[in-house]
């Protein structure tokens, strides 16, 4: 389900907490319809700025991610479908 490799991008689950990044691509095909619909509803889209904020206490899963002005929790598996370009502050 991981997005195709692109230079300078990492998958969202590899991004360090507190690092802002821009979404470069989302592997929509690897997600089932409901999951994709919900991610879109949360505002996940190419070009959006995201920032991982918190990790679940057990197995560092799920991940709380700020997307736009919202904070959402998704599982590590789904974050793996999102490729991002880290932004240096």
């Amino acid at each position: 389900m991981n997005a195709p490799f692109q230079p300078d991008t990492i998958s969202l689950d590899q991004l360090k907490l507190g690092t802002k990044a821009r979404v470069s691509s989302i592997a929509w095909d690897g997600l089932d319809e409901g999951e994709a619909c919900r991610l879109r509803n949360f505002g996940f889209d190419e070009g959006v700025t995201v920032e991982p904020l918190h990790l679940g206490p057990f197995g560092r899963d799920p991940i709380a991610i700020r997307v736009g002005r919202m904070t959402v929790a998704i599982r590590r598996r789904h974050a793996g479908a999102i490729r991002v370009i880290p932004l240096t502050q």
């Binding site: 409901g34 999951e35 619909c37 919900r38 991610l39 879109r40 509803n41 949360f42 505002g43 889209d45 904020l53 918190h54 990790l55 679940g56 206490p57 057990f58 197995g59 899963d61 799920p62 709380a64 736009g68 002005r69 919202m70 904070t71 959402v72 929790a73 998704i74 599982r75 598996r77 789904h78």
Partner: protein, 618 residues
């Protein structure tokens, strides 16, 4: 007569929609059901400035018109005028969170496209300001082409402006909605972001409160510790805070019982009123304080936004037993009552996740078990203080809750490995901003629960108690005989006793188990009725039920009785709601069977171990 104009309140989850609905309608609310689906319909009445009444309906929260759940489907169908049992809304109030414009405007744009007369309530402007965000509502109104009113629903601010705008809107003629044009979601999202950017006057980056709180409450170490502490405090409070009001109610019931005894002539009628109605219902309403305290905590955790954080913390563990963090909220609500808990599973998308959650929800210790637990604990567990603020009785209660939780997790694990095998779905949730819920909303919630409980006490519980009284009183015992053995109920109980005797249950318990199928707390009123009929000479208030039990049951039997109630599915409402939510008898029958089997094993194991430990004597 023409029906009242209907105004629908719509918006994304966490926009403060329900708070706005409460602010507009106050306590004049009705909770019903949409026909054919298990979605609650909340409606209320609002009187406009010129005296015209309007009906307001609070639609389920949705992120878009493409439904991801039955709730969201109802929202879509009502707005398109397709929902059975609901008329076409005459106007629409869209609630959006001022500090989450980019996201909420997308749904708003989709709704505006439908062509209803629409007003936007730009809600939680105070929180946006606190986060350093200054907005221009007139610019927003220009971009959207509909009126925009700033509100702070939880503080009742902007409500009058909103009413005035509704007044204007409902005076203008309205010519029906457009067919739903399915605009591209991505396109709408981009347009929403443009408008949001245009409407922002200034934005000062500040450390947000929610972020600071989350740093502690979602901390990998402190987070789970705080969650455990909150749950522990909650269950200690249920015990400690309720003591005084419970005494008041018990005294009131005793007084009423004495009055009835002195007013009514001795005979069947007095026995029916005093031993049947007053003893039975009185024993149950004594537990009203505990139930309300528990609901107070649950409403508070929900209202502040902490409940979702609890789901976040627990997701991985829940995932480990084949559930999702989403199941945490239905399961936590099941601590109050499994019926709303099972209904809350509708937010779980994956069907197997959902079914597993439904099947284990009755293992969560619901408030109806509190009367049973409290009675037995008060009768058999000494009120010793273990440490400052921690009593032995509270610890035993906590242990019973923990047993229920562990039982539920184990059952889920086994179910997911067996009958409900398959991969588990995902976990995606919004973490809303923390806020203090208005006291009035919490009070409305508690009063609704109190009403439901008292209604139950007045109908089901009164009914079963009176029937049990009749069965237990006829035929009358001769001299030297025990009434509870001679009567019709006594004979039924003797049959049940042959099955439950190996697990330490006596004749009185067997007698209580049958009516307790209606609801668990009936067990308490049934025991009260039986002992009251058996010993008519004792003054009702003079000899407390706890003392009677203490003399008649062994500790081993009492503990087995507690273990039984951790598991036994003795609640008609739960079985009925399971049937409704799973569309058939197959799953409720499965649930009842496996839970009774567990109850029997647990009570048996407890009894045999206790007897082996020398606790079998009365």
């Amino acid at each position: 007569m023409n029906p009242l104009p209907l105004v629908a309140v719509a918006g994304s989850p966490n926009a403060g929609k329900s708070a706005l609905f409460n602010a507009l309608t106050g306590a004049r609310q009705k909770v019903g059901n949409y026909p054919g689906v298990t979605v609650e319909r909340h409606s209320g009445r609002l009187v406009l400035a010129d005296g015209r009444p309007v009906e307001l309906v609070d639609l389920p929260g949705a992120y878009s018109l493409d439904p991801a759940s039955p709730d969201e489907a109802v929202t879509r169908d009502v707005l398109l005028g397709r929902q059975k049992g609901e008329r076409q809304p005459d106007a629409l109030v869209i609630v959006i969170d001022a500090s989450n414009l980019d996201n909420h405007l997308r749904f708003a744009l989709q709704l505006i496209e439908l062509g209803h007369p629409t007003i936007i309530a730009l809600n939680m402007v105070d929180l946006a300001k606190r986060d350093g965000l200054e907005l221009d509502p007139s610019r927003l109104s220009e971009e959207l082409g509909v009126p925009v009113i700033e509100t702070v629903a939880v503080r009742r601010r902007g409500i009058q402006d909103l009413q005035a705008a509704l007044d204007d809107m409902l005076s203008a003629p309205f010519c029906g909605v457009h067919e739903h044009v399915k605009s591209d979601l991505i396109h709408l999202q981009r347009r929403a972001r443009e408008i949001a950017t245009a409407a922002v006057v200034s934005e000062t980056p500040v450390r947000r409160w929610t972020h600071r709180l989350d740093a502690v409450l979602l901390h990998p170490v402190f987070g789970p510790v705080i969650l455990a502490a909150i749950m522990f405090v909650m269950f200690q409070a249920v015990f400690a805070w309720s003591q005084t009001p419970v005494t008041w109610i018990a005294d009131g019931v005793a007084w009423l019982s004495n009055v009835a005894t002195s007013v009514l002539p001795a005979g069947l009628l007095r026995s029916l009123v005093v031993d049947g109605a007053i003893a039975g219902v009185g024993a149950v309403i004594t537990f009203l304080p505990q139930i309300l305290i528990l609901f107070f905590f649950i409403l508070l955790l929900e209202g502040t936004g902490y409940m979702v954080r609890a789901a976040f913390l627990m997701d991985k563990l829940m995932h480990g037993v084949g559930l999702s963090g989403r199941a945490f909220i239905p399961l936590l609500s099941s601590f109050a009552c499994a019926v709303p808990g099972i209904m809350a599973t509708r937010t779980i998308d994956d069907p197997k996740d959902r079914l597993t959650t439904i099947l284990v929800a009755p293992l969560m210790t619901c408030s109806a078990r509190l009367p049973v637990y409290t009675l037995i604990i008060a009768a058999f567990i000494p009120n010793t203080r273990l440490a400052w603020g921690i009593g032995l009785q509270g610890v035993v209660m906590f242990g019973l809750y923990i047993t229920g939780i562990c039982g539920a997790l184990l059952a889920a694990l086994v179910l997911r490995k067996g009958v409900l095998k398959g991969s588990s779905g995902g976990f995606m949730m919004e973490l809303p901003k923390y806020q203090w819920p208005p006291l009035k909303d919490v009070v409305i919630g508690i009063l609704t629960r109190a009403q439901i409980f008292l209604k139950r006490a007045g109908t089901i519980i009164l009914g079963t108690t009176v029937v049990l009284w009749a069965l237990a009183s006829i035929p009358q015992a001769g001299p030297g005989q025990r009434q509870s053995e001679v009567s019709i109920a006594g004979h039924i109980a003797t049959a049940i006793e042959t099955v439950v005797k190996p697990i330490g249950f006596n004749h009185d318990i067997s007698l209580a188990l049958l009516p307790a199928m209606a609801a668990r707390e009936v067990a308490v009123s049934a025991i009260a009725t039986v002992y009251s009929i058996d010993s008519p000479d004792e003054q009702a208030g003079a000899n407390r039920l706890e003392d009677k039990l203490h003399h008649r049951w062994s500790l081993a039997t009492a503990l087995a009785f507690l273990a039984w109630f951790v598991f036994a599915p003795q609640c008609i409402s739960t079985i009925a709601v399971t049937r409704r939510e799973t569309n058939g008898w197959r799953w409720p029958l499965f649930m009842v069977t496996y839970l009774f089997a567990l109850a029997y094993l647990a009570a048996g194991a407890t009894y045999w171990i206790a007897v082996a430990a020398g606790l079998g004597g009365a």
